[in-house]
């Protein structure tokens, strides 16, 4: 196992992590190390396309990081914190132990998924999930795609799919129009957001944007059992035809079905707090608690960006800066950013209020619908339990390789369960790396 010693360790190479690294490195005597599980910096929002960074903001930050004395460790998945002031990560060449004085968590967010009949069919992707695959080179030209769920991400995803030649048939947003309009009117405080929003909307004016609309279920094309299709004239690339064929929407109370190739569906974002959890940081209502300097309840551990509250890229950048300054004792510089942070947080709060989930989404799963996709635990047996812990003990819900990252968030919404603290290793790792 190799050992890396550093003054400041930052986990996560998205906007918050990069901003934190730059702020920390402005104090010349501090050694700064940034670790990320992806091959390239940028996080999810600025994920590289076929290895190239497309966003100008991201490219500028990455260039600034390259010009500073910041050690980068990419393709490394942090999985445990076995002793104080150390973290362990798995890389393709073995385990690495990081020894730090101060730690900044910038672990970002993931999409929330909710179960409905047919959601496990191949061809059903997360909204951000499909976008990530497209950035990884997925060809979507002429594919018929429905984008659904909730949140501003749906518009961004629809636009990016359209720009790659996909036929986006509809955007189904569960939030009512009245709430969206109120949100739109509240944006006057954020002129740059308005400009962005208008420009984005202009590029997808031809895509029906359906409010008060959600996916009730989806089905696969009717085929006789065991039928296969040969692809690329190779008998080895065959598939049984169990994949997405059509999506049914509830639109202002009426059901309508749309034939499509892909469904991209996500219900806003939830924070990645597993690492904060195993470190013992206090987590309140699913988010990491921090003080005005982004410090968690653990001394020497700071947290910035989405894990402290879903607020988008600007919030992540300013919180990252504050954490980077505070972790290196530059409190004056940090304090100068408080007002800016207040503004970005307000935006985040407005976002979360606007895109709050409606109760009808709790009624989509039938008793056979799988809730836990790793262990194949369905809704029927789960609803008789009164807590995450009991359900886990009795049904193995949340005990598969994703460790409850998908079904945990779903059951929080469906049954109002509280998912327990994470346990190391927070990702499955090879035995030899433990």
């Amino acid at each position: 196992m190799s050992i890396v010693e550093t003054n400041i360790l930052i986990v996560g190479g998205g906007p918050a992590g990069m901003a934190a690294a730059l702020a920390a490195s402005s104090k010349t005597d501090a050694s700064v190390t940034l670790v990320d599980d992806n091959p390239r910096l940028g996080g999810q929002i600025w994920r590289a396309e076929l290895g190239k960074t497309k966003s100008e903001d991201a490219a500028n930050l990455i260039a600034a990081i390259d010009s500073k004395k910041i050690d980068l460790v990419t393709n490394a998945q942090v999985f445990a914190a076995s002793t104080p002031n150390t973290l362990k990560a798995e890389t393709s060449t073995g385990a690495v132990e990081f020894q730090y004085e101060k730690l900044i968590l910038a672990t970002g967010a993931r999409e929330r998924f909710l179960p409905f009949p047919g959601w496990t069919l191949p061809g059903v992707f997360g909204a951000g999930g499909l976008q990530a695959l497209v950035k990884g080179g997925l060809k979507v030209e002429n594919k018929r795609i429905v984008v659904a769920g909730t949140g501003p991400l749906l518009l961004v995803v629809a636009e990016s799919l359209k720009s790659k030649g996909a036929r986006v048939l509809a955007i189904a947003e569960q939030t009512p129009a009245s709430k969206l309009n109120k949100f739109g009117l509240s944006l006057w405080r954020y002129p740059s957001k308005v400009k962005q929003g208008i420009a984005l909307k202009a590029r997808i004016l031809d895509i029906p944007y359906l409010t008060d609309t959600w996916v009730t279920h989806c089905t696969s094309p009717r085929v006789s059992k065991g039928e296969t299709r040969t692809l690329n004239d190779s008998p080895l690339l065959t598939r049984r035809l169990s994949h997405l064929g059509s999506v049914t929407l509830s639109q202002k109370g009426k059901l309508r079905s749309i034939d499509c190739d892909y469904l991209a569906i996500g219900f806003h974002l939830i924070p990645n707090t597993e690492l904060a959890s195993i470190l013992g940081c206090q987590i309140t209502n699913s988010f990491v608690s921090v003080d005005e300097f982004q410090q968690t309840t653990c001394e020497n551990v700071f947290c910035a960006g989405e894990p402290t509250g879903i607020g988008g890229v600007e919030a992540s950048l300013v919180e990252g800066k504050i954490a980077g300054f505070a972790a290196t004792g530059q409190f004056e510089e940090a304090r100068n950013l408080f007002r800016q942070r207040e503004k970005t947080r307000r935006f985040g709060e407005a976002l979360n209020k606007t895109f709050a989930l409606r109760d009808e989404l709790k009624t989509l799963a039938d008793s056979e619908t799988l809730v836990c996709r790793c262990e194949d635990v369905s809704f029927g047996p789960l609803k008789s339990f009164d807590s995450w812990r009991t359900a886990k003990l009795q049904t193995r819900c949340g005990m598969g390789p994703c460790q409850g990252r998908i079904c945990g968030a779903a059951t929080e919404f469906l049954f109002a369960w509280t998912v327990g603290a994470a346990r190391p290793p927070i990702f499955p790792v090879k035995l030899e790396n433990l």
């Binding site: 997360g126 990530a132 692809l231 598939r239 194949d376």
Partner: protein, 82 residues
């Protein structure tokens, strides 16, 4: 152009393509078989959900969405669960 085999069929891929994408672009969307026998493909695209697990060069259960396709990789999809 790197080339990988997917279920013993040689497929060339653009540099920077992830294994999950190479599989989807080849027209295969059944990545793994779940514990109760249903077919699954990628969901989250970012290494969280573990639905895109495949066998690469004999190593089972690797998340194909987090790995870049490298020349000579041998990928097998939809093996029965261990």
């Amino acid at each position: 152009m790197p080339a990988i085999t997917i279920n013993k069929t040689l497929i060339s891929v653009e540099p920077g393509t992830t294994v999950a994408v190479a599989i989807l672009n080849a027209g295969v969307d059944h990545f793994r078989t779940s514990v109760s026998g249903s077919e699954r493909g990628p969901l989250c695209g970012m290494g969280i959900c573990f639905e895109c697990r495949v066998t690469i060069n004999g190593i089972t259960n690797l998340r194909s969405c987090t790995l870049l396709a490298e020349n000579g990789m041998e990928v097998t999809t939809s093996e029965p669960p261990a």
